[in-house]
């Protein structure tokens, strides 16, 4: 081949004549959360039409409450998924956090807040161990967290029984600091006669923080990068291991928060709860447009996914349908959402 080596500097052309100004709609369609948003609107309309009680503001508040209890951990689960990893232990980790706080404060007659903080340390430690094992062994997080899932499940039951002699914990409502902790984690207030649970506000806060971190900060850039291609990220100096461990710890943190809510909402904790919830967090994230393979997704999408779950969960009750069918609907919803996401993404890419 003949090699000409004259380096001609390219002069900047007039402003991007090749770029057709895209409409708001077509720009919207390239967002990862668009499929979830369309799905949420459709489901809302369906329940609005078939279930008269669903139309109440009070019902919407309940739906939002249920959504928030799943949506809070889903924020971190979505970030983790964008970072290319799974956490199957998230559901039982919520229960572990609640159990630790409850048992610690009760057994040591400590202030409730001490139990809450001890629980936080434990939750972060569990997240750290999950993350550390994943990055150091190179074993897929699906397997590592499957292991920790069973371990935590066994610990929840065995340790609770060992200490309390029961499958549940003792009522903690008389312990010092219970009231102030309950205010933070599980109180409610009313706006215009509608009861709003405080978890909804926390959820919104976590969504905003999560989205901001993901889209506007260096950490967010690294989360996308380690999920999109860990070797490439490492090659340009991104601390891949630290990002991934941090994400597992973020999941631990929001599981702890949810666990605290459960503890202060019910005063006692049953050691067997939380099983299967990890899948609901993952469903919320996937419905919300997170790619299973990492590197793509959105926190807002996961929030919409959790809202869809909350609507379906409560809507079936309001519509008077047999709740036995709930999980069938959930599964169908998941498949439908994934198909819709794929279709929308292909259309969006074709449009670019």
């Amino acid at each position: 081949m003949s090699q000409t080596v004259d380096v001609k500097p390219t002069s900047p052309p007039a402003r991007d004549e090749r770029l057709v100004r895209r409409s708001l709609l077509s720009r919207l369609l390239t967002r990862p959360e668009i499929g979830a948003l369309l799905g949420a609107i459709v489901i809302y309309i369906i329940f609005f039409a078939v279930a008269p009680p669903f139309r109440d503001a009070g019902s919407l508040s309940t739906v939002l409450y249920v959504s928030s209890t799943y949506g809070i951990p889903a924020v971190a689960v979505a970030l983790l998924m964008i970072g290319g990893e799974f956490d199957l232990s998230a559901g039982v980790a919520v229960t572990t956090s609640a159990l630790v706080a409850s048992i610690f404060s009760y057994q040591f007659t400590a202030n409730m807040w001490v139990g809450v903080l001890v629980s936080l340390v434990v939750a972060l430690l569990v997240g750290f161990i999950d993350g550390y094992l994943v990055v150091k062994t190179g074993i897929p997080s699906f397997l590592v967290t499957l292991g920790t899932f069973f371990m935590l499940r066994g610990l929840n039951l065995a340790v609770t029984k060992l200490i309390t002699g029961n499958v549940g914990t003792n009522d903690v409502s008389t312990i010092d600091g219970f009231n102030s902790a309950q205010k933070v984690f599980s109180s409610s207030f009313s706006i215009g006669g509608v009861q709003i649970r405080i978890t909804l506000l926390w959820w919104i806060l976590f969504i905003l923080v999560g989205t901001w971190v993901l889209l506007r900060t260096q950490i967010g850039n690294w989360i996308f990068a380690v999920g999109g291609s860990a070797p490439s990220s490492r090659a340009v100096g991104v601390p891949v291991d630290r990002v991934k461990i941090g994400l597992f710890m973020a999941v631990g943190f929001l599981c702890w928060f949810t666990g605290m809510h459960i503890l202060f909402a019910f005063n006692t904790v049953q050691s067997g709860i939380g099983l299967g919830n990890e899948f609901i967090y993952i469903v919320a994230a996937v419905v919300g447009g997170c790619l299973l393979t990492g590197g793509y997704g959105s926190v807002i999408g996961a929030a919409i996914g959790a809202f869809i779950f909350g609507m379906a969960n409560q809507g079936i009750v309001y519509a008077g349908w047999n709740p036995d069918w709930f999980y069938f609907f959930l599964g169908a919803l998941l498949l439908g959402a994934i198909l819709l996401n794929n279709w929308v993404r292909q259309r969006a890419e074709a449009m670019r």
Binding site: M1, S2, Q3, T4, V5, V7, K8, P9, T10, P12, P13, D16, R18, L19, W212, R216, T217, Q218, N221, W222, F224, A225, G228, S229, P231, S232, S233, R234, A235, V236, G237, V238, L291, G295, Y296, R352
Partner: protein
């Protein structure tokens, strides 16, 4: 053959080698690159090119010999350390994240911050300008880098390394997956990088790409140096013959000759090719 010069070269390997356990991946390699020079590393698959660049880039450590950067012996434990010494590597897979926008890839690992958040408008603008300086005019720096062509992606990776102050640029087979035209574009960037005063280590198995842009040539075979030449000491045809293993091709053609009429025809073609190898295909690209 190491040449002694007054100023220490940016990178110098002396009798460098690397063992993986009992496997000798690289042995007794000498290489140097100075500012404004292109050193080409040529070799077939498994010749040790990857091991060599991994040592220079800090992914692996050499087990024998010495590695000096600007006269100082070094032993890098991570690519980050090499980067801090101004040695940047553009890998075959380019170290880009396909799903991420071009500007996010450009600044990945070197994000510009404004308080706790990133200065996104600045990063977008800079990416666009840097690519323009390299002669790529992107429609949209927000498009996923995976949607760019191979050559464009290569150039994003090169301009990224240049922007972040690389003094030595290691290019791992940048033209391997590219068509003729795109390869030409990439070779132009190599020359551009050299003219900006960078030292370039250009890994390739194509002597037609190496000869026009290179100042020194290191040939590797089975983990050993087959020869280290300055441009004045070797012609393109010699380089090509060494690279292609002309002797081996000839041997192969003899074997084929003994295998019936059809094989003999193939052998004849092969033999002709050996003789024509590299001749009258490329005009001299010497631009000194």
């Amino acid at each position: 053959m190491t040449t002694t010069e007054t100023a220490a070269p940016l990178v110098r390997l002396t009798e460098a080698g690397k063992n993986y356990g009992n496997i000798v991946a690289l042995q007794g390699v000498n290489l140097e690159v100075s500012a404004g020079e292109v050193t080409c590393v040529l070799g077939d698959n498994g010749a040790g090119k990857s091991t060599l660049i991994k040592i220079i880039a800090g992914l692996h450590q050499h087990t024998h010999g010495s590695y000096e950067v600007e006269g100082q012996p070094v032993h890098f434990n991570s690519p980050r350390e090499a980067l801090d010494h101004g040695i940047a590597t553009v890998y075959q897979d380019l170290a880009v994240v396909p799903l991420m926008p071009v500007w996010r890839n450009f600044f990945l690992g070197n994000e510009v911050k404004k308080g706790p958040r990133m200065d996104i408008p600045f990063m977008r603008k800079t990416t666009k300008q840097e690519l323009l300086d390299m002669g790529i005019d992107l429609r949209d720096v927000d498009q996923a880098i995976g949607t760019l062509s191979g050559g464009e992606r290569q150039c994003v990776a090169i301009s990224r390394a240049v922007h972040f102050g690389a003094k030595v640029l290691i290019l791992d087979e940048p033209t391997a997956a590219l068509g003729v035209k795109q390869s030409g574009v990439v070779l132009r960037y190599i020359i551009q990088a050299r003219e900006r005063g960078l030292g370039v280590i250009f890994i390739t198995h194509n002597p037609h790409h190496a000869y026009p842009v290179g100042d020194r040539f290191l040939l590797l075979k089975r983990g050993q140096s087959l020869g280290y030449y300055r441009k004045s000491e070797v012609t393109r045809d010699e380089l090509t013959a060494l690279m292609a293993g002309g002797a081996e091709l000839e041997e192969l053609s003899h074997e084929l000759e003994q295998g019936g009429a059809e094989s003999a025809a193939a052998a004849k073609v092969l033999e002709e090719e050996v003789h024509e190898l590299g001749i009258d295909r490329v005009s001299s690209g010497d631009n000194k």
